[in-house]
Symmetry: C2
Subunit: 337 residues, 2 copies
């Protein structure tokens, strides 16, 4: 319940001015003797600079706002952890906000962040209205979209190469000899969903195949499960499904098993993300890896240089990830070209 100790108290104890104390702790020039006295006094008193006061003067809060929507998707906890570590390494901390993708809620959250004087915002799988984008621009607060593109918004984004990833996944199914290939797409309202779908459609077209079906899974387990039941209910059924993320793919796998079908003998499944669970024996999911570490690196680098004022234009960074071939899909047939 003690009041916090201030630089003035340290100054008195050390027999120097308050400015001298400040200089020692802010890394400005000070003689060895002064620094010595100040540090000793500070240690005795348990002094630590008030970050808020410092932020007021410098205009640098050292805080980054992070908005995240889908924490139940295992991709995000890992991303959050890595983001947190990378930012801490740069001397920044994360003010976190969880939200749905509802526009009003996102607006509230972004306003809150701005009010807290964050130096930058990372929006993970969340879209920003153009009003919100303007607001951040006017406040001079850089925004980086993580795992979500928003072309034309003028916002920087870091994603995996979604079109290419969708293509690669689909190509792998084609190479395995499949012809009745369905796609359970990501949310149509998201660029990642549309891009992966585009990759699917391109690969099918290039192979002269017609999609068995394309349905919007909304990045939801429940919707994906219902879609799967639907796909299996017809007289004719797909022999392979490319699912737009692992989170949905797990639900798809379970539905297929519940229907008494075998994976991959009856149906091959390929997901997207390579979340930790994909490698678990229970799923053994073939999937396109999103290289979280490189995506996080790119996000932090982009944000930091924007904060430093180095760049004012938007960066659209796409990082390629490999297909991880596991047991949920048949391996490629015959010799590869």
């Amino acid at each position: 319940m003690d009041r916090r100790v201030t630089s003035l108290q340290v100054a008195k104890r050390a027999g120097v001015s308050q400015s001298a104390v400040s200089r020692v702790f802010s890394g400005a020039s000070a003689s060895a003797a002064t620094a010595e006295k100040v540090r000793a006094a500070a240690a005795e008193l348990g002094y630590r600079p008030n970050v808020l006061a410092r932020a007021m003067i410098t205009g640098k809060s050292r805080v980054i706002g992070l908005v995240v929507a889908y924490l139940d998707n295992q991709f995000y906890p890992e991303a959050l952890q890595r983001l947190s570590n990378a930012l801490q390494a740069s001397g920044y901390h994360i003010l976190i906000f969880t939200t749905s993708n509802d526009a009003d809620e996102v607006e509230t959250v972004v306003q809150d962040m701005l009010d807290h004087q964050v130096e930058g915002i990372i929006a993970a799988s969340v879209s920003l209205s153009s009003a919100l984008t303007d607001l951040c621009a006017k406040a001079g607060i850089p925004v980086v979209l993580f795992n979500r593109g928003q072309p034309g918004s003028g916002l920087s984004s870091v994603t995996s190469a979604n079109v290419k990833g969708g293509y690669t996944a689909t190509q792998a199914l084609i190479d395995a000899g499949h012809t009745r290939i369905a796609h359970i797409a990501g949310w149509e309202g998201s660029m990642t969903g549309r891009d992966r779908r585009q990759g699917f459609e391109d690969a099918m077209a290039d192979a002269g195949l017609t999609p068995f079906a394309i349905v919007d899974g909304m990045y939801s387990r429940d919707v994906a499960a219902a879609s799967t039941r639907q796909l299996l209910s017809g007289a004719n059924r797909p022999d392979a499904i490319f699912v737009a993320n692992d989170h949905m793919a797990f639900a798809v796998i379970e539905e297929i098993r519940a229907a008494g079908l075998n994976i991959p003998d009856d149906i091959s499944i390929i997901g997207y993300d390579d979340t930790p669970l994909a490698a678990w024996p229970s799923f053994d999911l073939t999937t396109v890896r999103q290289p979280v570490n490189r995506m996080v690196e790119a996000t932090v680098t982009t944000l930091m240089s924007a904060i430093a004022g180095a760049e004012t234009y938007a960066h659209t960074i796409e990082i390629e990830g490999p297909l991880i071939q596991r047991g949920s899909s048949k391996p490629p047939k015959g010799p590869r070209p």
Copy 2:
């Protein structure tokens, strides 16, 4: 890139004093006419109070520090989301720190939080050294441990009723007719681990049974998997295992299946937490539910009343959760008393 607009600019535009602007936005008394003029000017200029400046004066940052260690365990993303929502509802925001349980790292993180003038700290499954506990006490910053007890530390904690939960789980295995019951314990360094183990031992003793084995799973998938292989390798093997959390139980289930054994026919498994995955058909895990929502509620309530200065003594809150009987363990035999 504009400079942020300040209360002084609003005051000039509205033709009132800066204090008047402040009063309108801090909810102090102001005439309807003044409020009107101020709000109009603020809206035109896009003014919002600087939370940092407000925090400096009031000494209330409206920020809660959250330390979390095991984000790969699905219990935590859910808890984080609920915590975030509950705190936002109280006008607070979360400064998040991920850490290992390493004492030095925790110390750094807590210091960082204190430097940022957080009003309270929630430590999820992380222990605080007594030096750190003292530090927070001296700074007058309340700490609540979430899902981790630390008796004798003087810190408040919110957990499930771990001894009772361990007892209930074990009793369920006994009721199902099992006699060779093993326990893969949580980390021995944690109170939750020790309590659940205590519940296991009590139930076994009450039933006149000797534990088949007790091993420390360290709350780690890998350690739990290795322990399982060990348990299965002997001439004699357990017919049931109580695993101290779901996160490990999933790995245990997979090892048992890999060994060609059937769950629950050969071995019954019961976990702890009732994470989302437990209900998935792939695991269908019988488990003791930790009532996340009620734990979060209790955590926020405790923290808020401590911040309000209402209580200075430590609260140790234990919340009971039911056993969720699913397919990974045999149902109780015969009639229940």
